[in-house]
Amino acid sequence: MNTVSESLALAVGLVTHADPNLVDIVMLSLQVSLTATFFAAYIGLPLGAAIAVGRFPGRDALIVVLNAMMGLPPVVVGLVVYLLLSRSGPLGSYGLLFTPGAMVIAQTILIAPIIAALTRQIVADAWLEYSEQLTSLGASTYRAATTLLWDTRFSLATVLLAGFGRAIAEVGAVMIVGGNINGVTRVMTTTIALETSKGDLPLALALGLVLIAIVVLVNAIAQMTRGWAKARFG
C-alpha cells in the first residue's frame, strides 16, 4: 500500500503546484470530452426522442442495435476512425489525424449511442405517461418529442453526465487517433498509460486520482445546477 500513499501525496502536490504541463493536459482532456459530449448530445437527444415517440417499420431492430452500440469498444472505434482519417483513407485530405479534432470525432462516435439509447428509454417512459394528453392537445409527433425532451431534462442531464464520464475515462480511442503527442494530443488517460508503461506507477496513480477528482468536480457542479434549476423551474 506504499504506492497508494505515495501516490496520494504526489497527487496533492501536483494539484497544489499546478504544474503548467499538467494543467495543459487537464484542459485538453476537458476540452475534448466536453466538446464530444456536446456533439453527441446534439445527435443523440433528438435521435433518442424520435425513436421513442415515432412509429416506423424496423423500429424494434433499431432499438436493439442502438442499445448494443452502447458497448462499442473504444479501441475499435479508435481503429475505425484512424482508418477513415488516415492520409491513405477516405477522409485523409482533411488532415485531422493526430489532432484534437480527431479525438473529438472518435469520442463523439463512442458516446452518441449511449446518449441516444438512454434518451430513448427515458422519453419512452415519459411518453407512456403523456401520450394521450399531448395527442389530445394536438401536439404533432415532432412537437411531442421536443416537449418530452425538455420535460425529462433532469433525467437527461444524468445521461449527459454518463456520456461525459465515458468519454473522459477512455484511452483506447484517443490513443490511436491522437497519437499521444506531447503538447498536442496528450490527455489525462494517455498520460496515465504512458507513465504506467514507463514503470512510474506512483505518478500514474497520482494522475489517476487527479482525473477522478476532476470527474467528481464536474458531477458536483452538475448536481448543484440541477438543484438550483429544479427549485426555480420545477
Partner: protein
Amino acid sequence: MTRRHLLALALLALAIAVPAGAQDKFITVASTTSTEQSGLFGHLLPIFEKDTGITVRVVALGTGQALDVARRGDADVAFVHDTAAEEKLVAEGYGVKRFPVMYNDFVLVGPKGDPAKVAGGKDILAALAKIQAAQAPFASRGDKSGTHAAELRYWKDAGVDLEAKKGAWYRDTGSGMGPTLNTASSMNAYVLADRGTWLAFKNRGDLEILVEGDKRLFNQYGAMLVNPAKHPHVKAALGQQFIDWLVSPRGQAVIAAYKIGGEQLFFPNANG
C-alpha cells in the same frame, strides 16, 4: 431550426480548428516508444526547435506500427530501429532514403537470483541458450517492434527453435518495452531491453543488468523521409531538414550529450 444547425456546425469547426491549427511550422515524426520513453526527444527536440523554428510532433509507437504510419503517409519522417524493415520501406518506394543516425544497445536484464546462471557473461547467444535450457521465465515484447525483431534473431542465431521450445517459461506480452519490463519485474523473468528504456525505468523490482557489451546487442537507428511522390502532402522540405540536422555534427553532438545518471544512452554514427 436551420440557424441552430449552422451554429452547431460553426462550433464544430471552431472546436476542431482552434487546438489543431495553433502551431505554425511543424512536422510529424513516427518514432518508437524506446526513443520517446528514454527521454531522448525531451532533450533533443527543444534544441532542434530553437535552431530551426520547426516544432516536431512525435507519435511514439512500436516499430511495426511506426513504419505502417509512414507507409500510410500519416507522418512526414520515420525514425525507428529496424534496418531490414526500413530498407524494405525504401525499396517499396514509401521512404526516400535511409540515413543511419545513432545506435544504442540492448541489455539482458534478469532477476538477481539468476536461475539460468548467465550473469557477467559477454555472449548473448550463449546466455539465451542457457535460459531456454533452464526453462527460466523470459518475457518477450512480441509486438513486431525493433526490439522484438532483434530478440527473435538472437534466438535463431543461438540455435534455439523457439516455436518448438516455447513453453510456459516464455511469456509473450504483446506490448511495449515499459509494460514488458513491468511484467518481467513482477514475474522475476529475464527480458531483453534497450538500455535507454531500462535506465529510465523505475519499477525494477529484483531485476538488474546481467549481460551487456556483446557487439551483437548494438541496435541501429535510422531516419527517412516519407516519399512525397507517394504522398504529396508530406512536408518534404521541413522533414528533410530534421533528418539533415540529426546527422549533422550539431545534431550528433546533441545526441551524444544526452545522459541518464551520467551514462550516455545513444551513440551517434551517422558517418559510420
